[in-house]
Symmetry: C2
Amino acid sequence: MSEIAELGEFGLIKRLTEGIELRNESSKKGVGDDCAVIAPTEGTVTLVTTDMLMEGVHFDLTYVPLHYLGYKAAAVNLSDIYAMNGTPRQMTVSLALSKRFSVEAVDQLYAGILRACEEYGVDVVGGDTTSSLTGLAVSITVLGEARPEDIVYRNGAKDTDLICVSGNLGAAYMGLQLLERENAVYKQQFEEARQTGNTHLMEELNNTQPDWAGHEYILQRQLRPEPRADIVKALAAAGIRPTSMMDISDGLSSELLHICTQSHVGCRIYEERIPLDYQTAAMAEELNMNVTTCALNGGEDYELLFTVPLSENDKVSQLEDVHVIGYITQEKLGKTLVCRDGTEMELKAQGWNPLKAE
Amino acid sequence: MSEIAELGEFGLIKRLTEGIELRNESSKKGVGDDCAVIAPTEGTVTLVTTDMLMEGVHFDLTYVPLHYLGYKAAAVNLSDIYAMNGTPRQMTVSLALSKRFSVEAVDQLYAGILRACEEYGVDVVGGDTTSSLTGLAVSITVLGEARPEDIVYRNGAKDTDLICVSGNLGAAYMGLQLLERENAVYKQQFEEARQTGNTHLMEELNNTQPDWAGHEYILQRQLRPEPRADIVKALAAAGIRPTSMMDISDGLSSELLHICTQSHVGCRIYEERIPLDYQTAAMAEELNMNVTTCALNGGEDYELLFTVPLSENDKVSQLEDVHVIGYITQEKLGKTLVCRDGTEMELKAQGWNPLKAE
């Protein structure tokens, strides 16, 4: 293992970025000067989004491998560009590293980021690398492009529009629950082994992975979310322009309420229509949790939530992996969840909120 | 004092950003959707730069007021845009806050950021606000614009070009030394008062500011650096296009070596030509430090370092606050500092490096 201090800031930046080749015509100058230079494609406007992930708040390195963390940190930003109906093009990556990180650890983190960039055709054009007194901080900014007429905001939903989601919901949250449970089990077993001086068992615990069989999908959803570029392409190919769209990072309820508030409309969604994966339901059952609550409030699925005019019903019904879960109403009719038994509840945001009191 | 947890993430974002009015024609959509939307000005390309500041590494809140910290965090990014000969237009601001920050404290930090934006005509169009287990982290990204033919990189310096710097050097570093000295004095006095149970003195120490008389300039240089928009404008007005340029964040030596390396040239600069302020020299004397070493390696002055063709000598000599400190040579002649006594030394980078071993 090599220490970052041996390389210094410029040495580390060189090591991380020197293999990077710019893929996009618009990326004129990448890492290596005071700024990156981007030549916007004619007829497009620029989309900008940024996210900061803090150790201990957004991720726990005891069970998140650094390569996955890098991939996810990039993916969640790409997801925001797709949520505007745009195409991501450039990324800047800022890392603050505490002393306990080796050069090899940073290599892994960066490799995950670059892997996501490769997958989605994005160029890393700049960033900052510095030290941190304590945890790891990752701040990523992504630039994308879209023709102005293609951009979809949160405020365009209209009465009678259909409410659609891609993929399925709650899986990432269930993956997190599983990881946290297994981590707690490991910690307890390790502590017991330590107290009884059983060094053999301590070593064994450190070298054994839990058996993830039957849970692979929810783990993957938590650790390696994929932004839904495919849905954006499918919508374009089908000639459907959503009236509003956003990605589901904090949970379906929270995001749908954002669309309703900004569009000045109400909504009516049906519990039975909310798409769930089998593994999500099984895990919720095992943990004695309500699977609908998880799907509504779990967050981190990075699926797309969007509305389309009622007249697009036929077209949208034929799209793979897109589900109509309800419709937009007049604002005065409120925001309603219709449960499986026919009862109605007001939709409330209980999504993840890092600054809210517990 | 109000707790951030009472507002939550969306409440805090709303509080911080709801008064923001977009100034630039190119800023089409600011805070409030998945992305900001920017319409690039016809005929320009986009410049992107980003910087992350970490508590305890880049700043010490025991002696840096939050308003100044915000201003500086913004200013250092704007400086990178000017260093490309561009104009800053948009900014995203990501904050990670630990529980000890009150809403009022965040207001102050943000007010400093917005003040710098107002001063330099920049729009805050997005960001992220989250919590941190430990210190404060501030990550800012700035977008700017320039006509492609106006952009100045680090790699264009040519043999016989004049090497110029704006303003004066070493002042910000001397300001830091002063702040750290006074902070150490305060801590020691407070600890002595605490040990002798002198609560009256403890209170008095907490309510007294050190006497900064005679040091105002170096303090201001450390706490509230100003990016040199005026120099970029003056160069344009004089019809001078630098062959290379960067801003001095890590120290003159370090930055000049970047230009030499990237331009494949050598340099020869003269100690007696390095511009110094009287307060910088006086403070160095008081602290028994070599003022030239401080000016060469101190960093954080955010002055501009640039090269111009020898034929521009007359024009550049007439620019206010611009100083010719030497000239570019062939690469094989090395990088030389000519001292006051005529001796010659090889220029070495000893600038601030947050990741380097002490």
